[in-house]
């Protein structure tokens, strides 16, 4: 494959990229440490920190007991104490055990203290479905946190972003949540010659197009890419906007692509009702009301706890065919 890779540019998996980002952070800043369940001896539940324990030692690659609320809260306290903790929560479903610390403490302290205590904490967690892990391991609860002022919510979809967003998040004085989709870890991508911190303020157009805008984030980006190729064969030129950050949302980039195509599909693996796709749709409605000829379409997860059986899980999650159908619908204009 590497023959296809331009000189200087490296092809690497999302896992390796996440790993490089972590490695760099640990090397560059003594204050940075990684804390979570099985990040050390086990090698990380998705093998992202494999070998780090040997390299950085148990103080900085800190295996924790099963105590989500305490080790997330300990991350808050350590951040207040001058460290730059990276807390890993294995799966977003488990983060519900730490929701109190994340929402009532991390998100509130700066404001509640009149600007005195900011919490420079980074929390990484795996999210999403597709591995038949069932209803307690497969959800996309990003909007639970994207709803909360005081938090920043990042959803790296590319190798460059998963590598670079960590550095940016660590440089950010605010609590930042990074969601890594479980289906991405083994996916390969191209990393620029000199990768580094990336901005987290702007969404990115991943594919230029004029016929329809596919607005998405995280794992769904690649389904949109595939959908765009199918659409192209049918003569529909799709533009794809990767939100990258769910809080804050980059309204400017959203409205720019809306103004360009006037046909919009939002693709979101969260449950449809009360999801971030609703917020995006609402903002488009509010800010680009007169630009649209047909209503925005949303392609989301079915409103069911994600089931184990393959055919049911597939039916529950957004699929390429669903995106293609939604795109054709808005393009054909029968909104």
């Amino acid at each position: 494959m590497s023959t296809r890779v331009p000189a200087g540019i490296r092809e690497i998996t999302y896992r390796e990229a996440a790993r490089e980002g972590l490695h760099e952070a640990l090397e560059n800043d003594e204050r940075v440490f990684l804390m979570g369940e099985d990040v050390g001896r086990y090698g990380g539940s998705y093998a992202v920190s494999l070998g780090f324990l040997e390299e950085f030692g148990p103080e900085r690659i800190r295996d924790t007991p099963l105590s989500e609320s305490a080790f997330v809260g300990a991350g808050i306290g350590a951040a207040l104490g001058g460290m730059r903790p990276i807390v890993e929560i294995m799966t977003v479903n488990f983060s519900l055990l730490a929701a109190d610390q994340i929402i009532n403490t991390a998100a509130s302290y700066l404001h509640m203290s009149g600007g005195q205590f900011n919490v420079p904490l980074v929390i990484r967690m795996a999210t999403g479905g597709g591995l038949q892990l069932g209803a307690q391991h497969s959800h996309s609860l990003e909007n639970l946190y994207a709803h909360v002022p005081g938090l920043k919510v990042l959803t790296p979809a590319t190798v460059e972003d998963v590598r670079g967003m960590l550095a940016t998040a660590l440089a950010d004085p605010n609590p930042v949540l990074i969601f890594e989709h479980i289906l991405l870890y083994n996916r390969k991508g191209l990393l620029p010659e000199t990768p580094g911190a990336v901005d987290i303020d702007r969404a990115r157009v991943r594919r230029e197009g004029t016929g329809v805008s596919l607005i998405t984030y995280g794992g769904s980006l690649w389904k949109c890419m595939e959908a765009a190729e199918r659409l192209e064969q049918e003569g529909i030129d799709a533009e794809i906007l990767d939100l990258r950050s769910l809080r804050p949302l980059d309204d400017e980039s959203i409205m720019a692509t809306v103004a360009k195509t006037r046909r919009v599909v939002v693709v979101d693996e969260g449950w449809r009702s009360g999801s971030i796709s609703a917020e995006i749709t609402a903002r488009i409605h509010e800010q680009a009301f007169y630009e649209l000829d047909v209503p925005v379409e949303r392609v989301c997860a079915a409103e069911v706890p994600i089931p184990y059986a393959k055919q049911l899980e597939d039916a529950a999650l957004p699929q390429v065919a669903d995106i293609v159908a939604a795109a054709k619908k808005v393009v054909s204009g029968n909104g």
Partner: protein, 332 residues
């Protein structure tokens, strides 16, 4: 194993002992088949095997009465089978078939069965504690005499839900038997790296709860301990805590390279494995011989084959059913 094997105590009925062995063997072979079927891609998702810990489930289930509830974890195939869920239904569940005990919606980590009050298959570590406490509360308020059997690993004891739930159970004197399957590892985290106090019964006792340590590799010991616990809980004396010291012979799940422990450590425990040890004792007592063993193996093998056939032949629930069971539609 060179050291002399002690025969069964006189007060133990040979047939009963043989039954216990057969149950453990059934679970062992079933789990081995699951591993095989996982590699074959027939079973997906996360798969957690009970191999090495059979004596705990087998011993405990002897004391579980029909009105009792069992609240288990994601490592619950053995408990499900021993509780009386048919092997067909369990295997079909792992195949994701509609004939599965959870209609194929739960998979390996979410086995459920209404008839036997098998309340899951919970993949949130610690998530079952409050549920078991609540079931026991309902039993007490309704005087059903039912006991809630809460099964969990030692790693779960670090979760806040453990603390809150044990306190509630002790404070309200509820009929819960807390069964800790201490296999010394939580994924890759050894007990002494997860608990400041590794003498686990002391934790239970800090809630004023009766607790005992049990050799989880000896099915006679686990069976007897469960009987004591059941008698205690059923007679209104409140909750009881059992620490079963056991060991996981296989990887945590199929994604585990086992970097956190040595092959030797695992092998040493295997030599003291519950089936191996008990088989030897049965043989020393003359209750089991090679022919009998062969018969048992054959019976289990054919039941497993039948279960695989059943699962293979099972139906994939039509996608049109996806939205069913999110809510019960009829008002009760």
């Amino acid at each position: 194993m060179s050291e002399a094997v002690e025969p069964l105590p006189d007060d133990v009925d040979g047939e009963y002992a043989l039954k216990l062995f057969a149950e453990m063997l059934r679970v062992r072979r079933f789990e081995e088949k699951c591993a095989e079927m996982y590699s074959a891609g027939k079973i997906r998702g996360f798969l957690h095997l009970y191999i090495g810990e059979e004596a705990v489930g087998s011993g405990v289930m002897q004391s579980v009465a029909s009105e009792d509830a069992v609240v288990a974890t994601y490592r619950e195939h053995g408990h499900a089978l021993l509780r009386g869920i048919s092997m067909n239904a369990v295997m079909a569940e792992m195949y994701g078939k509609q004939e599965g005990c959870s209609r194929g919606r739960g998979g390996s980590m979410h086995l459920f069965d209404k008839a036997t009050h098998f309340i899951g298959g919970n993949a949130i570590v610690g998530g079952g504690f409050p549920v078991a406490v609540g079931y026991a509360l309902a039993a007490k308020m309704q005087n059903t005499g039912a006991v809630a059997w809460c099964i969990f690993g030692e790693g779960a004891m670090a979760e806040g839900e453990f603390h809150e739930s044990l306190n509630l159970a002790a404070l309200w004197q509820l009929p819960v038997v807390f069964c800790c399957e201490n296999n010394y590892y939580a994924m890759g985290t050894a007990l002494d790296r997860s608990e400041s106090e590794t003498h686990l019964v002391d934790k239970a006792r800090s809630y004023k709860m009766d607790a005992e340590v049990v050799d989880g590799m000896d099915v006679l010991a686990t069976e007897a301990a469960a009987r004591r616990a059941a008698a205690h809980a059923r007679s209104g004396n409140g909750p009881y805590f059992l620490e079963f010291q056991t060991y996981r012979f296989r990887a945590h799940s199929m994604f585990d390279a086992e970097r956190y422990r040595s092959k030797e450590e695992v092998h040493e425990h295997e030599l003291q494995g519950p089936l191996r040890i008990f088989a030897a004792r049965l043989q020393a007592t003359g209750v089991l011989d090679d022919d009998k063993r062969a018969v048992l193996e054959a019976e289990v093998a054919s039941e497993i084959d039948a279960a695989v056939t059943f699962a293979e032949a099972g139906t994939l629930e039509p996608v049109s059913e996806l939205r069913r069971f999110v809510y019960v539609e009829d008002r009760s």
